[in-house]
């Protein structure tokens, strides 16, 4: 089991994923984070290398950094306690995200496919078919992720790397990646450019510039190309320049753990 592979490491796979995600964010960017891992990754970036990142949540909570531990939600008291501005959904998701104004968004996925399409709506036995039938397992729906996927300049997808989560084609597109690939996004005029990376517990996938199919760009010190291929439900292409992601520096790890003060990322 790959879980064992990190037993001797001074960080968890979740922490590696959060740090790798945080590294995708640049100083000064307008960035939107969801709840949980996405928020930890974002605030890690702010605390570590992007002090002037302009962080927001889809609730229209601005100027905040969480206090007292991982917020229970993007609107809860832990993130409301030191905000400088509260507005609303139209403002955050519409004026700032769907408009194209937001540089980068971080979203999660229950299932992702080779074109970076995300399913967070439900699990079906096989294809849904021509009539919309009940899911075997109902998930959370799109939330703001669809709006981020359509509008944010670029999107980083965070997902646990398991075969069932990496499908050739998602059962339901909750949030669009590159749809059926190539220039498909242009059909809909999306102002956002689409997902720039899928960052997993095992490595980093990036889209081919033309086909938009995601390929393996990098793996972690504790994972391998073989392990990743075995955990991906499609025939994942591997970059000829596939590289190892640098391990967390002591500063990165210390900073992340200050942000993740309740240790959410160390529990798994």
């Amino acid at each position: 089991m790959s879980a064992n592979a990190t037993q001797n490491l001074p960080y968890t796979r979740q922490e590696m994923m959060a740090i790798a995600t945080g590294r995708e964010l640049r100083d000064g960017e307008l960035a939107i984070f969801g709840v949980g891992l996405s928020m930890l990754a974002g605030y890690f970036a702010q605390a570590h290398h992007a002090p002037n990142i302009r962080a927001m949540t889809e609730g229209g909570v601005y100027g905040a950094t969480p206090v007292g531990g991982l917020p229970w939600g993007i609107e809860c008291n832990r993130i409301s306690a030191n905000a400088t501005s509260f507005t609303n959904a139209i403002d955050a998701l519409g004026f700032l995200v769907a408009s194209g104004r937001c540089d980068v968004g971080i979203i999660g996925a229950a299932q992702v496919d080779k074109f970076g399409n995300v399913n967070t709506t439900g699990i079906w036995d096989g294809e849904i078919g021509d009539s919309y039938r009940l899911p075997k397992t109902r998930l959370t729906g799109a939330g703001g992720a669809n709006d981020i996927a359509c509008g944010a300049g670029r999107v980083v997808i965070m997902v646990t790397h398991e075969p069932k989560r990496f499908a050739d084609k998602v059962s339901y597109i909750s949030s669009p990646g590159y749809l059926d690939g190539g220039n498909a996004r242009e059909r809909y005029g999306f102002v956002g450019k689409g997902p720039s990376a899928i960052i997993t517990t095992l490595g980093i996938l990036r889209p081919d510039p033309l086909s938009k199919e995601f390929f393996l760009d990098a793996y972690y010190a504790f994972s391998s190309v073989e392990e990743i291929l075995a955990h991906t439900g499609w025939d994942l292409k591997v970059s000829p320049n596939v590289r190892v992601v640098p391990e967390p520096t002591p500063e990165e790890l210390a900073t992340l753990r200050r942000v993740d003060e309740t240790g959410a990322l160390r529990k798994s």
Binding site: G59, T87, N88, A89, N117, L134, L139, A142, D147
Partner: protein
């Protein structure tokens, strides 16, 4: 000039709701400000066949759906954030009890904006191209769905975008931090879509954690985002959003959030929960006893309690509110 609109929770539910209505929650996201106690009272009075318009799921929808009182729901997000899947809603959807029509969070807000504006449709630059547009739980055989988010042609560029259908719920029970007896309301924390909802809904009931004097509103008119002129009734109920949070007034009750969601995962658990936490109190005092007086005090002394400080001087005592309420009822 205006008259007091204070009404008891039971009377507000009796007077403004009935089976089968389009009922909207005025919620600030899944773990925040929502009039969850209004949902408890809907169940106490046996309301059913509801068509729920919830920008996001909350423990209210989770409870109502888990109790099989919801036939249809429209939602942007159907989980409970860090608390995971909403087991009551999930069970209702998976069993076919509740038909859940999916949108995104911006879509729900935009549809309320469109309802408030009385536009025939709202331009959609999101949700198009995904299964949110192509799949309709309300018209499952219409695939790709043609009536849910149809295309509209931009007359300036000639290109096609989507069109959302506006929402105009029959009744919205909107949770607010502070209301005056006339129906002016202050929300602390994100508004989410409560501003738009208060204009889109045909009737608006405020459910307020605290009642303040109108002098508070005259001091802070820019905070009064819901004015009395569009409000039917004001219900006073402390900890109305419990176990969720109300910034400035109380924190999330983590323990009960988990307990409640676990209970709603099964029919039996839901029945037990209803017995203990829906029909298990007679009045505000009994409700606060259920929460636990110590816990309530601890939740009220959270990291955001300073947000309430400027307004405390105008907060009315339960006795003052009771006197006003009986005046209206008379």
């Amino acid at each position: 000039m205006s008259q007091h609109k204070l009404l008891s929770l039971a009377e507000a539910v009796r007077r403004y709701t009935h089976d089968g209505i389009q009922y909207a929650s005025g919620a600030a996201l899944p773990v925040g400000s929502d009039a969850i106690v209004f949902g408890r009272e809907l169940l106490r009075q046996g309301r059913k066949n509801l068509h729920a318009i919830f920008h996001c799921n909350t423990q209210q929808l989770n409870l109502l759906a888990g109790a099989a009182a919801v036939d249809k729901a429209e939602c942007g997000f159907s989980g409970l954030e860090v608390f995971g899947f909403a087991n009551g809603l999930r069970r209702a959807v998976e069993s076919g009890q509740t038909a859940l029509e999916d949108y995104s969070n911006l879509a729900m807000a935009a549809r309320l904006l469109g309802g408030a504006m009385n536009w025939p449709f709202v331009p959609a630059t999101v949700n198009i191209g995904s299964d949110i547009q192509e799949r309709s739980a309300f018209a499952p055989d219409d695939y790709p769905a043609t009536r849910k988010i149809p295309s509209v042609t931009d007359p300036f560029s000639g290109r096609q975008i989507g069109a959302f259908s506006p929402l105009k719920p029959d009744v919205a029970a909107i949770h607010v931090s502070l209301a005056d007896p006339l129906g002016n309301a202050i929300m602390l924390g994100t508004e989410w879509s409560r501003f738009e909802l208060s204009r889109a809904a045909k009737k608006v009931i405020l459910v307020a954690d605290a009642i303040v004097d109108t002098a508070c509103m005259r001091q802070y008119p820019n905070l009064v985002r819901i004015p009395d002129i569009i409000v039917e009734a004001v219900v006073y109920w402390p900890f109305a959003a419990w176990p969720q949070s109300s910034p400035g007034l109380y924190d999330v009750d983590e323990e009960h959030m988990k307990f409640m969601n676990k209970a709603l995962a099964t029919e039996q658990g839901t029945a037990d929960y209803i017995r203990d936490y829906v029909t298990g109190y007679d009045d505000i005092d009994g409700y606060l006893d259920l929460i636990g007086r110590d816990k309530a005090e601890r939740l009220a002394n959270g990291v955001t309690s300073f947000l309430l400080d400027p307004f405390r001087q105008w907060i009315k005592t339960p006795e003052e509110i009771a006197a006003l309420t009986s005046e209206v009822a008379a």
